[in-house]
């Protein structure tokens, strides 16, 4: 079998395990957070005020939705999912001592990683999708926005999140196969390194996934606060084409490196 055909078999075996794991239950609960927040906002908007205001200006539901997508999903939930699943693709099998069954079958070891990565992608998209759609229907109708006109942005947001999950998953799969404390390193990367370097001008931000993802954001953010004006000064966003190409390169290179690592590494299971 080819690497891809073998990976599809591993995907079949892994998806169910991943979907019904404790990790999915916990992260599913995390994804309920934005839905609860959206429900609360909707109730407030319906009962007490007509629409939302940010810095004194009226904000349409679509703008609030766009802000939630960027701040809650892209900058928080997508990296969290990437860290927790990506670093565990092989580590879970090693910890459960089930890796032996996969590594003593006639398939390349890199196919095991690729199959598990594909399972991760489908699993996380299935987790994120209901949450985003619910938030969309709860938030967008407030403040005069129409669901129909905002629907194309929902589709592009979902596509952006799928790309984000693919990129973060690949990066953290590499971290998981190479490093001893991948979870800590992953969390530091996603919530220390990325936010820090994005604030400052220079080339370092090109070593983040978030830098390329922000070019794919279609929503206009409210820009009249002092912080947002300061950020505007340093704001440099690559073109959509450069971002997509860069993210594709990140995914391909990190997955290839992770695959090579798994091929050559010896996994000593604790007795």
């Amino acid at each position: 079998m080819s690497v891809f055909a073998s990976a599809v078999r591993v995907f079949d075996l892994s998806l169910g395990q991943m979907l019904w794991s404790r990790r999915s239950v916990l992260l599913g609960l995390l994804l309920g957070g934005p839905v609860l927040l959206a429900t609360a906002l909707r109730i407030v908007a319906t009962l007490y005020v007509s629409g939302f205001q940010i810095n004194g200006a009226q904000a349409a539901g679509a703008s609030i939705f766009g802000m939630m997508i960027w701040l809650l999903y892209i900058r928080f939930i997508v990296p969290v999912l990437g860290v927790f699943y990506g670093t565990a693709l092989i580590a879970d099998e090693v910890e459960d001592k089930t890796i032996t069954y996969l590594f003593t079958r006639p398939i390349p070891r890199s196919a095991v990683l690729l199959g598990k990565y594909l399972a991760y992608l489908v699993c996380t998209i299935l987790l994120v999708l209901p949450s985003v759609v619910l938030v969309f229907f709860l938030i967008v109708p407030t403040g005069g926005s129409g669901i129909g006109e905002a629907f194309p942005s929902l589709v592009s947001d979902l596509a952006m999140m799928a790309i984000g999950l693919a990129a973060y998953g690949a990066v953290f799969a590499l971290v998981g196969t190479r490093l001893k404390r991948p979870l800590v390193v992953g969390l530091v990367y996603a919530f220390g390194w990325e936010p820090a370097v994005l604030l400052f001008p220079g080339y370092l931000k090109r070593l983040t996934v978030a830098y390329y993802l922000q070019a794919l954001v279609t929503h206009q953010m409210p820009q009249d606060s002092a912080v947002s004006l300061l950020l505007q000064v340093f704001h440099e966003v690559p073109s959509v084409a450069v971002s997509l190409l860069s993210l594709a390169t990140i995914i391909a290179v990190t997955l290839w490196m992770a695959g090579r690592t798994v091929e050559n590494r010896e996994y000593v299971l604790e007795q």
Partner: protein
């Protein structure tokens, strides 16, 4: 063709030596790998199944190098020691899912899994979740995944560990049948009489070295000179203990929380009678029989000194 050829094979983990300059040829047929815990059995098993790369020397399995050669797994079946599974799957689903990794189609994998499950006499439990299996059933479903693709070489790491006497007898019979059907089998254990009941061809391993190989009757005599300890988990331990005390080959006996721990001078006779006792059900169910490796350790210490 030899099943396994090791040539000056060494494997170390940092400063710890797992295998030390091992040169051995494992012939076709059934071969027992015997040694106490920490002797290097598991390291040897992991090297011959391609999970570990030799630090020095070379290893070939069925005439080919195994490390980085996944195609060879079409001809090898491995039953690992660890009690690890995808517990949410049924036995039949798990075996079918693993044989699909050999490139087998959906319908064929289901049929092959059903045959393998039948071979290990688990048909009645094939549709139950593995999480609900007893230790003996889990051992058997592990063997089913090892033989499902009809490999030329079966590598079984402590396959009888934790089985009750009846399952143990059945499994030994199965392994001998597979050997007779032309398969090569390498089976590890720390209990000589288990290995001896399957094959006279034994590799003795201790401290990472092969101490002896071939038909080692003298080892048997040595074993008999040392008392053999057996721990039996049973439904009615007190009744079982009363029965066992009547046997003249029982040297000592003590009761633990849910087990009877016996020292015997004649393990073969003792195990035979224990199997009959389990089959009769006279003193309730016998759940698990284990033997610590102290028995073998004493013999190995004697061997190394002499």
């Amino acid at each position: 063709m030899a099943a396994v050829v090791a040539d000056h094979l060494s494997k170390w983990y940092g400063q710890v030596i797992g295998l030390n300059d091992v040169s051995v040829t494992v012939p076709p047929g059934i071969t027992g790998l015997l040694g106490p815990n920490g002797a290097g059995k598991s390291t040897f098993m992991k090297v011959i199944t391609g999970q570990l790369k030799p630090s020095k020397g070379s290893i070939s399995v069925l005439g080919e190098p195994i490390w980085g050669n996944p195609a060879l797994y079409h001809r090898i079946g491995f039953c690992p020691e660890q009690d690890a599974f995808y517990d949410r799957m049924t036995g039949a689903e798990w075996v079918a899912a693993l044989v699909r990794l050999n490139g087998v189609g959906e319908a064929e994998s289901t049929a092959m899994a059903a045959r393998a499950i039948e071979t290990v006499e688990l048909t009645d439990a094939g549709d139950k979740k593995i999480g609900a299996y007893s230790k003996g059933m889990r051992q058997r479903v592990k063997m089913a995944q090892a033989l499902v693709h009809n490999p030329d070489l079966l590598i079984l790491d402590e396959p009888l560990s934790g089985m009750d006497p009846l399952a143990r007898r059945k499994t030994i019979r199965m392994i001998k049948d597979w050997g007779r059907s032309g398969k090569s089998i390498i089976v590890s254990s720390h209990i000589l009489h288990e290995i001896e009941s399957m094959t006279p061809n034994i590799l003795l391993i201790n401290q990472g070295r092969i101490l002896a190989e071939g038909n080692v009757h003298q080892i048997r005599e040595l074993i008999d000179e040392h008392p053999h300890t057996v721990s039996i988990k049973a439904e009615r331990t007190r009744a079982l203990a009363r029965e066992l005390l009547a046997y003249d080959d029982v040297l000592s006996l003590r009761l633990e929380e849910d087990a009877v721990v016996v020292q015997t001078g004649r393990p073969d006779a003792f195990y035979a009678r224990l199997t009959e006792l389990a089959a009769s059900g006279e003193h309730g169910a016998i759940h698990e029989v284990t033997s610590p490796d102290d028995n073998l350790q004493a013999v190995f210490q004697y061997l190394v000194k002499s």
